[in-house]
Amino acid sequence: MVSSHPATAMTDSSQIHGTPGQALQHDSALKHTTGEALYIDDLPEPAGTLHLAPGGADSVCGQIRRLDLSAVQSAPGVIAVLTAKDVPGTNDISPTHCGDDPVLAESEIRFFGEPVFAVVARSHREAREAARRGQIDIDPVEPVLTIDQALAAGSYVSEQQQLQRGDWQGALQHAPRRILGRTVSGSQDHFYLEGQVSLATPGEDGGVHIHSSTQHPSEIQHAAALALGLTDAAVTVEVRRMGGGFGGKETQAAQWAVLAALAAVTTGQPVKCRLDRDDDMIMTGKRHDFSSEWTVGFDDDGRILAADIHMASRCGCSRDLSDPVNDRALFHADNAYYYPAFRIRSDRCRTNTVSNTAFRGFGAPQGMMIAEQMLQSIAHQLGKDPLDVRKLNFYGKNQRDVTPYHMRVEDFILDELTEELENSSGYRERRRSVDEFNSSNTILRRGLALTPVKFGISFTNTALNQAGALLHVYKDGSIHLNHGGTEMGQGLFTKVAQIVAEELQVDLKTIQITATQTGKVPNTSATAASSGTDLNGMAARNAAQTIRQRLTAFAASHYKVLESEVAFRPDRVRVGGIEMSFADLVMQAYLNRVQLSATGFYRTPKIWWDPNKAQGRPFYYFAYGAAVTEVMIDTLTGENRVLAVDILHDVGRSLNPAIDAGQIEGGFIQGMGWLTTEEVVWENDGRLATHAPSTYKIPTCRDRPEHFRLQIFSRGENQEETVYRSKAVGEPPLMLALSVHQAITDAVASLINEAELPHLDAPATPESILAAVDARRASTTP
């Protein structure tokens, strides 16, 4: 199923177990299957551990008039009840410290369920039972809930941003053809299987140790320090593994960690905060939903001449990461296509809903969906196959290659990649057989689409593109590996260990993977933006190279040979004419007082961004991929079924094809969920209606078609000097699923031969598909 290729770095015909390029198991694979892998709620609880549950508002917005917690206080098992007044430091966990994300709401409620108090009780169940008893009265005000309401009310979390180039107005006006369209994509809950959880233990000097299920330990550390009035150094945050993150445990983990820490410091006892699934879904942010209007001008061949795109997103009640998310949406509103002239605007709407946050793709899926809907609309109007129109608009090589943010696309491989997929998937024959099927079926209809992905890799905030690692080699030759990246299932720890194994030519089993800990590697960036391996792999490689260099210098002087005569071979080291095990050399080095511990560091080169000019090179490189999806819909019920998926995806030179394939398939299915079954529904009163898996539907096993052909692009190689020329893989595959939505649209369009593309919002639930079908059928009746 997965193609791999040998790693470049190999020097010897025999290989160590662990060399990059090998399809190795996830480091915890067997522990996962036996239940031995410990998540925070599984850790043995320290004696006296108390349990915390948040108490949320049961109204949507307004000033708090009265807070009556007497019934909470007196509930069985309750030890303490905390409110905003109990926060000794700054009552704010905003990632940008802009003061709009209180740990506990003090005077104002801004969304339904906003945490106002926290109960600390002897058991999880007692804490939850007590938390239901709070009385929070507010002076209600009219909420702003939707994007449309926010636009009408001028309610924003920050200023509008825009990118523009050339005389887009003139180009639109004079374009031979124009289409006006609207692209709407819904929100999405992360639905990590392990909910938010933290366990805080009070320590000496007022300090605290926090186990947090987070993608961003350094931020949790800082947030806890600020809230508790401590220095960062007094707070230690640790995370061995998360049961899924997907962006939802970046900023959103902070509140629960800080509350647990606050309660631990207040009561002097360890405190665990594990959110119940409903609280988790109600109280933590999700993917931004977007509503965008666009005009595209093009010629009779379908070549885009100009575009004017206005996107607006629901950010919720605070800024959180909405600025970088929306920036990334702006940066991906081109996807793989060259726009000669354009204006792209982005409005960031403030609403009385939970603050939306990072989610795999980080705004890019929403931006790309606009580009893809424009392309599909153009093709439809011209009666062409959308694939042909896509190819026509692809970025060029050395021409037509400047993105809307003035960065040149220097590594564009979609021509080759798309062609390969077009052939391997039998796209053209499939198109014919779909047409044939549709010509003889009225109720069931099929649709087909091929969509490409071009995704920029790096944090758009340049400062975040740095990482550190810490490597200890012990006297017995075993290696303790630590770095700033966190493991949420994506296989980061395995890949980084493979890199260290390669550098030192030691078997993977000599490398002990350890929990991410702010006390070991400081000032880390979130494990996000797909950059985990790019950054931490390089930092660890740097540390390993330092060790290797020290060992080489030592061996050369000790054995009186040239440094060039010292070679690290699989599981052994050759020094001049003799060979010894790695462990023996290490012991010699120890006895001769060579430092066997090293830190490593990495900063991504080449990138810069000037926010005032909206220009720069925000991305080190691009990751690419493409997918073909075939679907069937039932035009009486609107139900749909994905029949077949073919994917070709570029991961550069794969560090671990098994792990990369897992990211690609998992990302695709998650994207498919976003675009089909996963509907986040808000009641008119601002209450979240879908706050549990009973009402919120992520894909199940059956939704994954049997025909699912996944190939890693065998010619992939990063042009930039990333770690062994690999490419990031965490986020890009999610957007391959845009092909699902396009295929469904294609199936609806097949009903009536008409120039306009059917309008289909995402998620394409049976209800919205049926609405599109009915609208399509009605369009013939004059």
Binding site: A29, C701, R704
Partner: protein
């Protein structure tokens, strides 16, 4: 009927209060192979809480605490006809008292001397990423493996059967492909010999307990959990405790506890009553005992119609179907329960039993209004009787956002008697269209004695507008529900006239597999 229910919960109880004499006051079960006795302080204690907090077996995870994610999947072993039968269940909504006399197998028990073949297959296939869902999948695949024949090579599960067993386990990371492959790999191998020893040791213990006639009567500080062993005893309990909650599979009741935070002071578990478990297939009726599980009805109901087979394979998940009962699906009075509309269209009747004896009513009459059923105090549901008729054509469709484990937006069931191209009689019932499952009387009338043509369809569709005024909620808008109701009628028409070529979900149902 007993009176003075108010002081009931507070009144200190003594052993002599028991209406039933031969009782036992601790829950007794096998945890792996270890016999465990638990005095229930709280009758509402879930199996999951017991496993994770008391037994410190943390391999079983909590992902939702409402039966929807499968992270908490365990195997429940039960002694039936001298054999031990294992089925997957969600520990989060199973109450501890319900495992009395049974064996609980968790992921830890599978790996006593290193990972077993299923665990290895999951690792080989790269089927875990974050790993939080993994123990649940391992348990569901184990249940699947155990349901197959001895000859591993000859009885490989097809994709549909794998889906039927795994659709109740959510994975957010992998996209499922590697898990499906792991299931295939594991099922192709013979069971390890150690399993044989494990299950026969368990069987011996469970069979021994089966001989003990004592009934569970656990009075704790927070309430009573009782599992009477005869309906006479049940009626006595009901008389004694008017505030009691009758407990069947707990797939609703479990959520009252974990999600609504309710404390139920008296639980009367029906699972130890052999009378309610029987399935009688008479020549012209099928009588389904109230505690027959959805899974157990599958072979008999699937034989009635392929549409019923499809409906049952997507009712909840395998874990839910294994414990959820037919009686519970009716007694809960839900407007979106899946069986009632289908059974009403089929003309089913209900047997209710109380102090005054038995009575029988038409199933549709049981549903009085939202949250209101024709169930008298002290009465319980004994069975449902489905007439078997050869002269009807039966169709039903469930429409929901997701195929598996989703609650119906609309469910339409159509039992049509057709003769020479015209409708003699129609019984049509919908779920999701009103406050209860409700028959479409206007629509039925519009069809009666009419030819199967477009005009009839249009008139019948119009009549549906008079039958229903559905609500809008998170599952569907009122307009969509109304439209779907008409479209399902159209589907029925197309099917009757042979013009419905295929189903979108054809191939989604495991063909030819016995569903034990």
């Amino acid at each position: 009927m007993a009176t003075a229910p108010t002081a009931e919960a507070e009144r200190p109880r003594t052993a002599s209060d028991k209406p039933v004499q031969n009782t036992r006051n601790t829950v007794r079960f096998l945890l792996g192979l270890e016999p465990v006795q638990v005095a229930l302080d709280d009758p509402n204690l879930t199996l999951l809480e017991y496993l994770r907090v008391t037994a410190r077996l943390t391999g079983t995870k909590e992902g939702c605490a409402e039966g929807d994610c499968g992270a908490c999947t365990v195997l429940i072993g039960e002694c039936q006809d001298g054999r031990i039968h294992y089925s997957a269940a969600n520990a989060c909504i199973l109450l501890l008292g319900m495992v009395d006399g049974r064996q609980v197998v968790t992921v830890e028990h599978l790996a006593d001397s290193g990972p077993n073949l299923i665990q290895r297959a999951m690792a080989d296939q790269h089927a875990s990423q974050c790993g939080f869902c993994t123990p649940g999948f391992v348990m569901s695949i184990t249940a699947l493996k155990l349901s197959l024949g001895e000859d591993a090579a000859a009885d490989l599960p097809d994709r549909a059967l794998i889906d039927e067993n795994l659709a109740g386990n959510l994975c957010r990371c992998t996209g499922y492909g590697p898990i499906i492959e792991a299931a295939r790999q594991a099922c192709a191998q013979p069971l390890p010999v150690s399993w044989q020893a494990f299950s026969s040791t368990a069987l011996a213990v469970l069979a021994g307990w089966q001989q003990d006639p004592s009934a569970l009567h656990c009075q704790g500080r927070r309430g009573l959990f009782a599992a009477p062993r005869s309906t006479v005893d049940l009626l006595e309990y009901l008389a004694e405790h008017p505030q009691a909650t009758v407990l069947a599979g707990a797939t609703d009741i479990g959520l009252w506890i974990t999600k609504q935070g309710r404390q139920l002071p008296v639980l009367l578990y029906l699972g130890q009553l052999p009378e309610l478990k029987s399935l009688k297939n008479n020549s012209d009726t099928l009588e389904i005992g109230a505690t027959v599980t959805i899974q157990e009805t599958q072979p008999v109901l699937a034989a009635l119609s392929p549409d019923l087979a499809r409906l049952l394979c997507r009712f909840g998940s395998r874990q839910v179907r294994n414990v959820a009962t037919v009686g519970g699906n009716i007694a809960n009075g839900s407007p979106v329960g899946d069986l009632p509309p289908a059974l009403i269209a089929l003309g089913a009747r209900l047997k209710l039993q109380g102090h005054a004896g038995q009575r029988e009513i038409a199933l549709e009459d049981f549903f009085v209004d939202y949250g209101q059923q024709d169930l008298l105090p002290g009465e319980f549901l004994a069975s449902v009787i489905v007439p078997l008729k050869n002269d009807i054509q039966f169709y039903c469709w469930k429409v929901s956002k997701r195929f598996d484990q989703d609650i119906s937006a609309v469910l339409g069931a159509f039992a049509m008697q057709i003769e020479t191209g015209s409708v003699q009689r129609a019984r049509i019932c919908f779920g999701g269209m009103a406050a209860t499952p409700r028959r479409a009387y206007h629509c039925e009338a519009a069809l009666k004695d009419q030819p199967l043509d477009r005009q009839t369809l249009d008139r019948a569709r119009d009549a549906l507008e008079r039958d229903f005024e559905p609500i809008s909620d998170l599952r569907a808008s009122s307009g969509y529900r109304q439209r779907i109701a008409g479209n399902l009628l159209e589907k029925a028409f197309l099917s009757m006239t042979g013009a419905q070529p295929a189903e979108l979900y054809d191939g989604f149902l495991a063909p030819g597999h016995s569903h034990d």
